[in-house]
């Protein structure tokens, strides 16, 4: 298997059962969802409504939340890029 001593996270081993090789990478899913949410919520923040701003007491909470989610999602995707799963038959399972 790969060098996995320094990543701070575990890597799944290969071939233990059919299921383990077919599981997809949760990091891609989290990263992808957060990027999409970041864009959506961020968009709401770019065009704030007066009513919404009044509720959030003048803070553009949508913009801040959107940007933070975008950043977190990006970090997850970067993590997948830098340390992809090392399982022989599943590279195309989830991308």
């Amino acid at each position: 298997m790969s060098e996995q001593t320094d990543s701070g996270e575990d890597r799944r081993e290969t071939g233990k059962s059919a299921a383990s090789t077919k599981l997809f990478d949760i990091r891609t899913i989290i990263g992808g969802l957060f990027v999409v949410y970041g864009v959506l919520v961020g968009l709401a923040g770019m065009f704030p409504t007066a009513e919404g701003l009044a509720k959030s007491q003048g803070i553009n909470i949508n913009l801040w939340t959107g940007l933070s989610m975008l950043a977190l999602g990006g970090l997850f995707l970067l993590w997948v890029r830098l340390r992809p799963l090392e399982t022989p038959e599943m590279s195309s399972e989830e991308g």
Partner: protein, 555 residues
């Protein structure tokens, strides 16, 4: 007129709905993909034991961070103030560390698929069947609380009446679990964890701004509730008074020891998350990794509860249209603009799915392997049990819909949850401790201890409900009945054990602490011996950090 539904009504726009729809599209996508990899019962129930520790660790927190936890601990925050952090610091961390460091090797190495199955190996069929039935009953009762929690959210969202919301919610969960089994449940829990946090952080920030920042919060709470509301130990001496109505001994023994160790070490919804890990090292690290995020969850759950009390001071009071359970939906309606609102609704729905899926999947594991396979139809094909597992899921959800109506009669669902834990988890924990650390413990003692240990707190609680016993608060009752449950279990087990014949020593290998096999570290993978993956370091680090977290609430 200002009715409950109107006051809490959340006005979602297309953006909020889109966020919600995307989430469930992804969740169902995972379920479909996971279905392709589910081939055997081991896959369906334990995810084929293949997941890395950070995934099972976050699933471990997330299984506990259900809608009940979020609504219920916020309710506790509004009702009991800073005393609520006891449920996290003394009521969770030590028990999670104990599970990881001491108990996990027994569970993982004995290759059991459920907690009662361990009792079968250690004791006999009678205590196994008893504990399985107790487990099944507890799971569907707790599943009912989860359904009710979602119904509260649906009511706020769509204005549906609670009964309709309960039924619709139940059917949705059913579809979701049957499609994907536990594999997707664990993956979704990790996803849910991040969404919930992303939703609760902005809510807390806006809430703090609303009450004038941390300084304003402290001043206002002190002015309206008294300084004690912000302390964790104030007034907990004997004969003193505090919002919790419990003294320090009841808190430490009842909550810190009996309830919390009972819940975290024998609640299969939690333990199952660890059993899905890829090896023993990862299984032990699962609750230990979970302990760190767990410590900081009060900041985004309990704190909003306290803020809700300032925003709506009559919350939970007799005659008020808001009960404690509505603390979080109330703040969402007051503070969140469209966009973040959709995120918060999604987070709550997601957290509901986490709790409900955890309960239902542990119910079907225990029913299928420990009751059906063991006593009703043994020695059938794997496909048969897989089919039964799916049928039982449906039955479990249907019963859960029924028990949701019991939960709807409680103003603070966390009070009710803890009552259930004191009935079901505490005696089981007492029996486990004896089974693990005392090789003289016998099968007969296990059975009678468990039976009477469960009946005793039920009896005590009944006395409280009919008014014969007076206590400071519902939670003080729970802590006291937990101590009673533990004490009765041990008091019954020990004499029975001494009067009956123990199992021969060779049958106890791997099942009792003094037998060396249970202490092996299991096969290690490359990197598992890195210093930051040492279970002892992670465990003791969590304990030290929990003690430090108490300091601001103790002066």
């Amino acid at each position: 007129m200002h009715t409950l539904a109107d006051g809490l009504r959340l006005s979602m726009n297309w953006m909020d709905s889109l966020i919600l729809v995307i989430y469930f599209a992804v969740v169902l996508g995972i379920a479909f993909a996971a279905k392709r990899s589910v081939h055997t019962t081991l896959d369906f129930f334990l995810s084929g034991r293949s997941l890395p520790a950070w995934v099972t660790g976050l699933a471990f927190v997330s299984a506990n961070l259900g809608a009940t936890e979020i609504l219920g601990m916020a309710a506790n925050g509004a009702q009991y103030g800073a005393y609520t952090i006891h449920w996290y610091l003394i009521g969770a961390i030590p028990a999670m560390v104990f599970l990881g460091l001491v108990m996990m090797p027994f569970y993982y190495n004995s290759k059991v698929r459920s907690v009662p199955e361990f009792l079968l190996l250690r004791f006999s069929r009678s205590s196994h069947l008893l504990s399985s039935i107790l487990f099944a009953v507890a799971s569907v009762l707790i599943a009912g609380v989860n359904l009710y929690a979602l119904a509260i959210v649906l009511q706020a969202l769509l204005g549906w009446p609670i009964p309709v919301s309960i039924v619709v919610a139940g059917l949705f969960v059913l579809a979701y679990i049957i499609i994907g089994g536990l594999t997707s449940a664990i993956y979704n829990e990790v996803l849910q964890f991040f969404v919930i946090v992303a939703a609760l952080v902005p809510l807390t920030v806006l809430g703090l701004v609303r009450v004038g920042g941390v300084g304003g919060l402290l001043d206002k709470v002190t002015a309206s509730e008294g300084a004690q509301f912000l302390s964790a130990w104030g007034g907990t001496g004997f004969g003193q008074d505090n919002p919790l109505g419990a003294n320090w001994l009841t808190i430490t023994l009842g909550l810190g020891f009996a309830i919390s160790f009972g819940y975290w070490t024998t609640n299969f919804a939690e333990v199952q998350r660890s059993l899905s890990a890829k090896n023993l090292s990862a299984a032990r690290r699962t609750p230990l990794i979970a302990a760190f995020p767990k410590m900081f969850i009060p900041l985004i759950v309990v704190l909003p509860g306290v803020i809700a009390l300032l925003v709506q001071p009559n919350i939970g009071q007799p005659g008020s249209e808001y009960d404690y359970n509505s603390a979080i939906p109330l703040l969402m309606a007051e503070l969140l603009p469209n966009g973040v609102l959709g995120l918060a609704v999604t987070g709550l729905m997601a957290s509901f799915m986490a709790g409900m899926a955890a309960n239902v999947s542990s119910f079907n594991t225990v029913f299928t392997t420990d009751i059906w396979q063991a006593y009703i139809k043994p020695a059938m094909s794997d496909a048969h049990y897989l089919m039964i597992g799916r049928v039982v899921t449906a039955v479990g959800v249907l019963i859960g819909i029924g028990t949701a109506f019991i939960a709807s009669s409680f103003s603070n669902i966390m009070n009710y949850m803890q009552t259930l834990f004191s009935f079901f988890n505490v005696p089981l924990f007492a029996t486990f401790i004896l089974a693990l650390f005392w090789k003289r413990m016998t099968a007969q003692a296990g059975f009678w201890g468990l039976l009477l240990g469960t009946l005793a707190p039920v009896g005590f609680y009944s006395l409280y409900r009919v008014g014969i016993v007076e206590m400071g608060s519902d939670q003080a009752v729970n802590m006291t009945s937990s101590i009673i449950a533990f004490a009765v279990d041990v008091a019954v087990s020990v004499p029975v054990a001494l009067a009956t014949r123990p199992k021969p020593a060779e049958e106890l290998v791997g099942l009792v602490y003094t037998k060396a096999d249970a202490n092996t570290r299991g096969e290690l993978q490359k990197g598992d011996d890195a210093w930051y993956r040492k279970p002892a370091l992670l465990g003791w680090g969590a304990i030290v950090l929990a003690v430090l977290c108490y300091i601001p609430f103790s002066i």
